[in-house]
Symmetry: C2
Subunit: 330 residues, 2 copies
DNA sequence: AATTTTTGTGGAAACGTTACCACTAATCCC
DNA sequence: GGGATTAGTGGTAACGTTTCCACAAAAATT
């Protein structure tokens, strides 16, 4: 029925071990190698990866656990990770947790059972503290979310700096009553909040940070409530691209003009942020770099398991657009 | 070093086969089952999925091959597929082809080597005709792209109808010189072009269809060229959400007002299409349904391999917005 | 020319699991 | 109460590879 390496060996007139070597790296005479190749073509042999993985103890598989692949940040990072993986002859198992710690735990044990070569993980705040390097049988690289002190290789944006950049930008444009909307479950949200509050304080301003569940709808209703208040902020700092759609929608629904009635600055330079009038000021994250760098850290770790852990901190780029145009003096 | 089911059996004081049965479905006394579970906890045993797959000949893995996970259509479909898969205790291997036939072929053989349980595939025009059911050792469901006559289960949008709907919509709003921009490599592009041309002809109008490579940049430069012409169309029908960003950007750059100077109608109801002024008229594809339905077809096929192939054709929903507001009579 | 090294090959033992078979002891049915 | 079913268990053979080891022949070294 299914054709195995035994059939290939028989057709090629060699032993199974020689056939295996001919297909791999092993030392084999040129003519035998060609015979084996011909036998592969003749039989239509396709190696069984499960068997190979079991025997060789190398799964050539890396795990990627993110909150939601529909979040544009993860979409782009995921694509970069996959490209790097396939280039290195590895496959990727993708899991969406929806920021649910239970599912994070579930997928973490799944990764163990898959015996993945390595894992790239964007954990929630809840699990990031529970992570223990010694309970894992494979190296793990954290992305987007910072882990507890130096236990894991990490690649992330300088979130505090990025928030501060946005605050400075807004203040320079004449805004002072600036609110902040952040993701409740992610570590990123907390870092961006901290950066925001610190920058506000440094300017002698008091900030107000609100947390919402990680969905555009949650952001929209939170923004609607907030912007309905008579003493609504002059500007809103929005923690990610998903939330941005919700906040802009809320402003539209309430009939508020951007930036005259409400200025908006956020994260994630999606194509559409340029197109929605008057253009949204955002922090652009180097998404491809983050994905590639995560894979690079992983491969490095596999090569030198005992090297000190590394933390790659990347800076965002502030893209100024109309949504934070200078505020006219009243 | 690594703990195997042998260790579990030893700790539980039973044979390996009993331990295996206790962890699975097999008939085992309640007390033994509990002993084995305790042994699993005590030893920290994690089953080796490669070994299980090799022995049981069931990989519980399904393949998903799409053009680019960053295309919002595939992002949403992919997420739906993964949810359905994990609910059924299966894993997903995702591959991006960038509409490159060579990579499609590569990933197709990868799927064979992985011995996937089934495959969900959105092929390009080039490969869709070469696909042979008898060369595959697993069932395959085509999405988005129609295959050759009835060889495979398929789930797709009624693309011709959807294009016709957009044409009718535009004509009813007073537009007559309507151009169409379509993806060159996808079957979807061709179908949408056909539906567009047929609907134009039915209205006694002549259409002009242009094809571009599957990227926002390609769409932008094509649209820029087109809209620069003095006899530019009054309206543009745009084949997918990726292209829409490019076309809107081109219009903005050229200083053309939407819809006064150029009306726009397209595909994929992304959140931002509502936000970009004056709102883009689009065909909303039932993306979750497409993903879920594809998995349903796959499972059905696995259960009844010899049933006649099915083709699920879903209708898009036309979401009318300002980008196709009625054209004032000159 | 005698030794050592290299090159190429085949046999057989893993890798960790499930599935098959055989067997005992308990339960069932007239 | 005796034969037939059934529930529960253990031993062992797969699943399809790769890798280890042994070995012969050829090549290189002394």
């Amino acid at each position: 029925m299914t054709v195995t390496i035994k059939d290939v060996a028989r057709v090629a007139g060699v032993s199974v071990s020689t056939a295996s070597r001919a297909l791999g790296e092993g030392p084999v005479s040129a003519e035998v190698r060609e015979q084996v190749r011909a036998a592969v073509r003749a039989t239509g042999y396709k190696p069984n990866l499960s068997a190979r993985r079991l025997r060789s103890q190398r799964t050539q598989t890396i795990g990627l656990i993110v909150a939601d692949i529909r979040n544009p940040f993860f979409t782009a990072v995921g694509r970069a990770v996959e490209d790097a993986a396939y280039r290195a002859g590895m496959r990727v198992i993708l899991c969406n947790t929806d920021e649910d710690p239970a599912r994070e735990a579930l997928y973490l044990t799944l990764m163990q059972e898959e015996r993945v070569t390595g894992l790239i993980f964007a954990p929630t705040r809840a699990t990031v503290d529970r992570l223990q390097a010694d309970t894992l049988d494979f190296p793990m690289v954290l992305i987007d979310r910072a882990g507890p002190g130096g236990q894991f290789d990490t690649v992330l944006l300088d979130n505090r700096e990025a928030s501060a950049t946005l605050v400075d930008h807004l203040v320079a444009r004449g805004y002072s009553r600036i609110g902040g909307l952040f993701g409740a479950t992610s570590t990123t949200g907390v870092e961006r909040r901290d950066g925001y509050l610190a920058a506000m304080a440094a300017r002698g301003l008091t900030g107000e940070a609100r947390f919402v569940a990680p969905s555009a709808d949650a952001a929209e209703s939170a923004a609607t409530d907030w912007l309905r208040q008579p003493d609504r902020p002059q500007a809103l700092l929005v923690s990610n691209g998903l939330f941005l759609t919700g906040v802009v929608k809320a402003a539209r629904t309430l009939g508020l003009r951007i930036p005259q009635d409400i200025a908006i600055a956020g994260f994630d330079n999606e194509p559409w942020t340029e197109l929605v009038e008057p253009g949204l000021t955002v922090i652009e994250q180097p998404v491809e770099t983050i994905g590639r760098e995560a894979m690079a850290l992983l491969f490095q770790r596999l090569k030198t398991p005992d090297a000190p852990t590394r933390k790659v901190v990347l800076s965002g780029r502030c893209v100024a657009r109309g949504s934070t145009a200078p505020r006219p003096v009243a």
